[in-house]
């Protein structure tokens, strides 16, 4: 590798970082602009938009609604996804590859099609558009991610751990809860935060499966369509900070846990 290519590569890398961050930084800056009009230049600054957002009970309600949906759908996908991984991971059976493909199916269907299929299906099951429909829709979409993360961690669990538990008198269920689940913990933490973020950020499924009450992305979309205002910047910035903090925390804790040796984790 010549010096020249090395320099070029690092320039490309940092340019990419700038490309990722500049739009978000600009968006955050605009939230402090003392004008209804979004755009440069910014002549005076204000916190007024944030005060408005925190006073606005509608925004708070929408936020709590989205958070509740994220929690509920994550709980479902965590249980089902782990269950699928535990079935598929260590066993060999007829139709295993087919089952694995079907578990992953929702992850490869383009968003709009998934949303429409779920909307039609909700009508068949007579689930009204609203919270239940969104929760189930998000759960379906997130199951593959949980299953993949748990499968990866499960592959590193030494079979001897479970066998030792069995020798000590635990049956399969007790061995699962006392050996396998603690070992999977970093994967489970990582997967659940990832699911919460996916659900909280999801627009397309919430848009098609929702009733009159919007989720946060649907609300921002609606506001954007009726015109940009710094209020949207303030809401978006709050969301950005929250998701970044949650993501960083999850990344840190699941990495720290994953570093513990198998003997320590079990």
């Amino acid at each position: 590798m010549t010096r020249w290519t090395r320099v070029t590569m690092s320039v490309i890398f940092w340019a990419f970082v700038v490309y990722l961050f500049v739009p978000l930084v600009l968006m955050i800056l605009m939230g402090f602009k003392d004008s209804k009009f979004i755009g440069f230049p910014i002549r005076s600054w204000t916190l007024e938009w944030y005060v408005d957002v925190f006073r606005d009970t509608e925004v708070l309600g929408v936020f709590l609604y989205s958070a509740a949906i994220a929690l509920a759908s994550t709980a479902i996908s965590l249980v089902i996804g782990t269950w699928c991984a535990v079935l598929i991971g260590p066993r060999r059976f007829v139709g295993r590859a087919a089952l694995f493909a079907l578990v992953c199916l929702p992850a490869v269907i383009p968003g709009i099609i998934s949303a429409i299929a779920l909307r039609i299906y909700a009508r068949l099951l007579e689930i009204e558009p609203g919270m239940l429909a969104i929760v189930l829709g998000h759960a379906v979409h997130n199951v593959p991610f949980v299953a993949l993360v748990v499968l990866a961690r499960l592959a590193t669990l030494p079979a001897s751990h479970v066998e030792a538990a069995r020798d000590l008198g635990a049956d399969e269920i007790v061995a699962f809860f006392r050996v396998t689940v603690p070992y999977l913990r970093p994967a489970l933490i990582g997967a659940s935060v990832f699911c919460m973020l996916l659900s909280f950020d999801d627009f397309i499924r919430s848009f098609f499966l929702g009733g009159y009450q919007p989720t946060l992305p649907v609300l921002i979309f609606a506001k954007l369509r009726s015109g940009m205002s710094p209020e949207i910047n303030a809401i978006s910035t709050v969301v950005l900070v929250l998701t970044a903090v949650l993501g960083l925390w999850a990344e840190r804790s699941s990495r720290r846990l994953a570093r513990t040796k198998p003997s320590g984790a079990a």
Binding site: T8, I12, F13, F16, V17, Y19, L20, V22, P23, L24, L26, M27, I38, G39, F40, I80, C84, V86, L87, I88, R96, L99, F100, L102, L105, V108, I109, P110, G111, I112, I113, I116, A117, I120, Y121, R123, L124, V140, V143, A155, L168, G169, A170, D171, E172, F177, R178, D201, F203, I204, F208, P217, F221, L224, R225, M228, S236, V239, T243, G247
Partner: protein, 325 residues
Amino acid sequence: MSGAAERAVARASADGRRSRWGSLLGSGLYGRLDAALAVSPTRRFALLAAVPVLWVLIAHVGPIVQMLHVSFLDAYPPSVGQVPAYTFENWTSFFGERIFIMPFLRTLVFATTLTFATLVITYPVAYFLARHVKRENQMLLLLLLLIPFWVGEIVRTFAIMILLGNTGAVNLLLSWAGLVERPIPFMYTRFSLGIGIVYLTSLYMLLPLYSALEKLPSSYAEAAADLGAGAWTRFRRVTLPLTREGIASGCTLVFLISTGYYATPVLLGGPSTTVFAETVAGFFHVAGDQWPVGAAFSCIMLMTTLALAGIFIRLMGRGGTGLLK
């Protein structure tokens, strides 16, 4: 109760403290339940497999099958007292209408172009990260790249709107530099939509590329160098072929994801960039009673995208289940 459970209980009692789990194993109800439900290995397996199989059939396959079913109906949701008849019209109406075929082709061309663009942009980024950064710093930089991707589709689309608007940062810079007198209308064009989609999807390309490059031992390139290969030859003959798995999965993901965006084309695109997602969504929002047409169009799009992705993966020379050992 099984012998094993009895032993566990005995041990727990001998310790003088019956643990929660010990008492579970020792309880008569649990023993009876266990004996009734899990008599044979087959029975145990059936119990374990029931939930995933049922979930997958009902929740993953069900919606697609029902969408296919509705696409052949003449009316859906059914009105009271009316039995829907089967028809092929929803499917045939797609062919022969320019306003349907154009967005469809545009979506495919767009997604393909953007997938290629994302690959070209992120490959050097992933290469730099995996081969030039010290191992202990790699995770930190990867985390830095991850942060923007935890922020949702809508917020990031909005951020691009601010960047590219007529009073946006790019136009501000250009006019400061004296390059333009009037702002360039970036927004609501193919350009703004492209920038936005690449912004949203690049991580799905970056991560598979990074993990493929990171696994590649540097000794391979060194061996090629010893045999006299120049930098470009080493890249083309060694690095690129050995990371094709990462390229294949990254491209497939980005292609499938970018065809599925709806809000981003609505917000960043204009009349000349209508994508198929907008066409399909129109049957559900504007005209409520055209669900069957929307379902048929969704099926056409789903089959086309999955077929293209499948062909692509085949061409790259990998069977599907690489994740499953």
